[in-house]
Amino acid sequence: MLKTTISPIFSSFTGKPKASRLIFQACKAVLEDTPPSARRNASTNLTMLHQGPPTSAYVHLPFCRKRCHYCDFPILALGSSSSSSNLYEEGKEDDPRITNYVNLVVREIKATRAGFDTKPNLETVFFGGGTPSLVPPKLVALILDTLSLDFGLSPDAEISMEMDPGTFGAQKLKELMDLGVNRVSLGVQAFQDELLKACGRAHGVSQVYEAIEFVKKCGVENWSMDLISSLPHQTLEMWEESLRLAIESQPNHVSVYDLQVEQGTKFGNVYTPGQSPLPSETQSAEFYKTASSMLRGAGYDHYEVSSYAKDGFKCKHNLIYWKNKPFYAFGLGSASYVGGLRFSRPRRLKEYTNYVTDLENGAANWCGNGNVDLKDVATDIVMLSFRTSKGLELKEFGEAFGREVVNSICKVYEPYVESGHIVCLDDMRREVMSDEFKTLIANDEMKIEDHVRYLRLRDPDGFLLSNELISLAFGVISP
């Protein structure tokens, strides 16, 4: 039944526009293919969000001293020899591997010619890695200059950089700040030497304290601390200690990641999730709950599954992701989202180098091929919205994808509203009780979204089961 009510809406969108090399063609094609009802709301419609020019850029700086045992990102390990003697200050001579790579990224940025009518400045730039703090500031400057030249950089843009303890000193940080970097994401991960060692981090706890010291000394106002829960041998006591010490060091943003044991990583080879020395599923659920309650107790807003922020310090760049807005991406293995298409660059340096050359020759395109499938857009929005505490806004979702989908999603979630995994909120973000929600669903006459404006996952019980819950909605959208 679900299938028949939903499919007409989607089928009218899918499989139409021919792959286009230039982004404005893709946009035009999508626009032409959008039926009138959707076009009317073009300015606010969710289906249109991705079509404007991006105002965010992700830049991947893949260098690390060595690979952590849990890591499966595209990184380039430098080894500890080259810069180990002068970790805290810029090296006398730069590592040619870094210089060459940065030059390549600069070429990529230059070769990216967006055909948008308007050219708004970039509002957020995010240097991720790898360990971007291993890159000499003057090379970071090169990238920022290029971005500024090609896309324009807003004077109050949020420019974030991931930095690892032991890879920067006060001077380097100062230089970076002078270049415009105004947000630091510090990869602390744990406050116990044995845990840091066990997961192959290149730093110890003393370097963590030093790094915090540098951040404070340099007056970085907007900084975030990353922690990982469910590490091997981690106990609840250790986790509580890490959280306490994190809170004491007063970052205005904390990211808490639950360890994912990925295939092909060192952990993936030796550990099985839920089995010793990894904490059990129940324990790691407990870790998650503990983080939520301790950090919220300390005044942080749990605004996304793994993100906590003090007032006014949410990560603007990451919000772009959660809102399904477009963003550029540059560098090895990075993924962009422009014109409704997600595109991942090659993860190996050699292929990435070829890609950049092709891009310059016009033999490759930078935004990906294919059609914008509205079902994909809808699932993206569901998946990303439910990560946030704001949740899924039903009204605009219904306007974009049809009321029937909203009804079906509500139906499939009914038991989970009752069990408390999902929270219904009205216009004023007051909770709608499950009995009322049940009545609304049972009554076909009423428009659910007039009474229930948002669905969100409850913190922490709903967040903890986000995969299960989101996949239920996936089943409704593409049956």
Partner: protein, 679 residues
């Protein structure tokens, strides 16, 4: 390939040799065409292994076999009724019935040496694989005894209790039977049952002890056993080895000497007994029959007395063993009719054929409607195959009047059919044919029997589907079919078998030693207890030495209850079963435990319960998933996580929702399998 070799070899020699008149030649060549067609369409007929197999050694001299071959070619020639002998062979599986039949065909020249294939009478692939005969065949032979030609008709019988009605009808078409017993194995339960059937039909029985050439042969002991168990005079039992060709002539002589000829009632109105029929997609139903009274000619308008249908006999012929057309058959003869009959249900085994213009006063005794005793639900694994399953069942039914089915819908399994079978073997054969010949992938529910429910308002209803059992408040009592079961076993397994029977609610009746070393044990037990793995258990507990035989003896009241399975307080209908109260607890516990293993954990705690009415008798709980949370979508790269979520969503699609709980199809299948084992 097998077919091609069969076509190269057999038909021409059968049809074209030994005929003289040009008209009959024409006719015969037309048969061979239709016969070819039958080979190619029915495929079962001539799957021949002989070319690859060992050539049976003939015990006859060269000149003798030539002589036999000549007389074999004259087998269409009529003989007086007094020179006709109709007989069948009663034997346990593997005691050599088919080999003996082959040898008889060969020695009488009915089948030429070079056309010989092993086990000529068993047609279906399945039969060959299992070494048993499911559908019977017949063969007309010519045998010259003391310079007088005789016409011998061998009517083969199926060897399994599920088909005891069919066996009884073929025996009713004979005047005598060969009782073949393996010289090293002795009398088996199945053999006994068929001997009793033969005795009921007043057949002259010729004991034959086979495989006397084997090292373990103890013919004297076996003869004693036959005398003691069956009470048959074995003073003139024949010792033979069908494989080596020893004793074959003696057997043929004994058939002529000892089996009485049919009564000469050729002038009476026609009455012919149908002992087999099968559906040929090109010619309609082909009916095998024995003329008891009167005669039947090609072109006659014939009337089937039980079904009330009438047809014109387009073609009449004899089986020898292939179909060969003739003009007329009279009392005592065995043959076939093709009359464009649409379904075997119109010409059922046991029905009487009479002449439409000159009807017999009464039909032959012994006709019975097929009553299915065992039921199960058949569901296609892939819902799209439902129409294919229906077509396949309809096609099988054309050829199998005992197969019953009606559509059934199940919340868990979707659309399927509830099917009724004569017994377990019949069920297995149908399932296997559906899967093998029609390429269907099926889920089978636990077999059940038909219960008789007496309701409080005085009605009696029959119920084969647990979910349709009236509520406890509405039923006064429930009766279940009982069987009498006879087990024959070497004495060291008596204990094991009694334990098995006791476990299955068996009521001990009698035990006797049929030989120094072997015992017969008699039990009465519910059929429901037999439809599971009883036979497998019997075989495994006795290392394969015991044999069994059962017959339904009627309905008895039992303390039966409906055992329901509740998942998260929702009733799961297809898992409901009817069990005896004493067994409810252990069955309930096994089922709930299995389900707990198989259902993936959900976002909440899920109780899994077995209940009688509202009373919970076994309970398990599936703990809730604690954590299934997305990791960081690094650098906005959501594609991989999304793939995982899609996979997770697809996984949910393959499940059946029981209330709020997603249950994988595999869980149902595993539990149904378990039910088959524990019930």
């Amino acid at each position: 390939m097998a077919m091609a070799s069969a076509m190269d070899l057999s038909p021409p020699t059968f049809f074209l040799s030994g005929t003289s008149s040009s008209s009959s030649l024409r006719r015969l060549s037309s048969i061979s065409v239709s016969s070819f067609r039958r080979h190619s369409t029915r495929r079962l007929q001539l799957l021949c292994q002989a070319t690859a197999g060992t050539q049976p050694q003939s015990g006859l001299s060269e000149s003798g076999s030539k002589l036999a071959a000549r007389s074999g070619q004259d087998r269409l020639l009529k003989v007086p009724i007094s020179k006709i002998r109709n007989f069948s062979i009663i034997a346990h599986i593997d005691h050599g019935k088919s080999t003996l039949a082959d040898k008889l065909l060969q020695v009488t020249g009915t089948v030429q040496n070079r056309d010989m294939k092993e086990q000529f009478l068993d047609n279906m692939d399945l039969e060959r694989e299992r070494g048993i005969t499911i559908k019977l065949q017949a063969a007309r032979m010519r045998y010259v005894y003391e310079d007088t030609p005789y016409c011998l008709n061998l009517i083969d019988t199926p060897g399994h209790v599920d088909f005891s009605y069919e066996v009884s009808r073929s025996l009713a078409a004979c005047e005598g039977a060969l009782l073949v017993v393996d010289a090293s194995q002795g009398v088996e339960a199945q053999t006994l049952a068929n001997v009793y059937l033969a005795l009921e039909n007043n057949l002259e029985i010729i004991p034959v002890v086979n495989k006397i050439d084997l090292p373990g042969a103890e013919p004297e002991q076996v003869i004693r056993e036959i005398e003691e168990v069956i009470g048959l005079d074995c003073s003139n039992a024949i010792l033979c080895s069908a494989k080596e060709g020893i004793g074959i002539t003696e057997i043929l002589d004994a058939i002529v000497q000892r089996i009485p000829p049919p009564r000469d009632t050729a002038e009476n109105p026609l009455r012919a007994l149908i002992f087999d029929s099968y559906y040929d997609p090109y010619r309609g139903v082909i009916v095998y029959f024995r003329v008891i009274d009167g005669k039947v000619k090609k072109g006659d308008r014939i009337f089937f007395m039980a079904s009330g249908k009438d047809y014109f006999a387009d073609e009449i012929g004899v089986l020898s063993p292939n179909q060969i057309q003739v003009d007329e058959l009279y009392a005592g003869e065995v043959g076939y009719i093709s009359a464009s009959i649409r379904s075997v249900a119109d010409a059922r085994v046991g029905d009487t054929i009479t002449n439409y213009g000159r009807k017999a006063e009464s039909s032959l005794p012994g006709y019975e409607e097929a009553t299915p005793m065992v039921f199960c639900g058949l569901f296609p694994v892939d819902a799209d195959q439902f129409p294919d399953l229906r077509d396949a069942l309809e096609k099988l039914q054309l050829n199998d009047a005992a197969l019953k089915f009606e559509p059934e819908t199940s919340s868990a399994m979707g659309f399927g059919f509830r099917c009724g079978f004569l017994g377990l073997l019949h069920m297995e054969i149908v399932q296997e044919r559906l899967e093998r010949e029609y390429n269907l992938n099926l889920i089978t529910t636990a077999p059940s029997v038909v219960y008789r429910v007496n309701t409080v308002n005085g009605d009696t209803t029959m119920c084969s589907n647990p979910s349709l059992l009236p509520q406890p408040g509405q039923r006064k009592s429930v009766e279940e079919p009982y069987v009498k079961i006879e087990l024959l076993t070497p004495k060291e397994f008596i204990g094991a078998l009694m334990e098995l029977a006791q476990d299955r609610r068996g009521e001990f009746k009698e035990m006797k030693y049929i030989a120094e070393n072997r015992a017969s044990i008699l039990y009465e037990l519910p059929l429901a207890e037999m439809v599971g793995d009883f036979f497998d258990q019997l075989k495994s507990r006795t290392k394969g030495y015991a044999s069994m035989e059962y017959s339904v003896i009627g309905y008895r009241e039992s303390d039966l209850i409906k055992l329901d399975i509740l998942i998260n307080a929702e009733l799961v209908e297809p898992l409901s079963t009817i069990v005896h109260r004493d067994k409810a607890y252990s069955v309930g516990r096994a089922l709930t435990q299995k389900l707990k293993e198989l259902i993936p954990r959900q976002m909440f705690k899920v109780p899994i319960q077995a209940c009688i009415g509202t009373k919970v008798i076994a309970s398990e709980a599936l703990s809730a998933i604690r954590k299934d949370v997305l990791a960081k979508c690094y650098g906005g790269d959501i594609s991989r996580k999304k793939k995982l979520l899609k996979k997770q969503a697809a996984g949910k699609k393959r499940m059946k929702a029981i209330g709020r709980v997603d249950v994988p199809q595999e869980a149902f299948m595993a539990v149904l399998k378990l039910e088959r084992e524990v019930l």
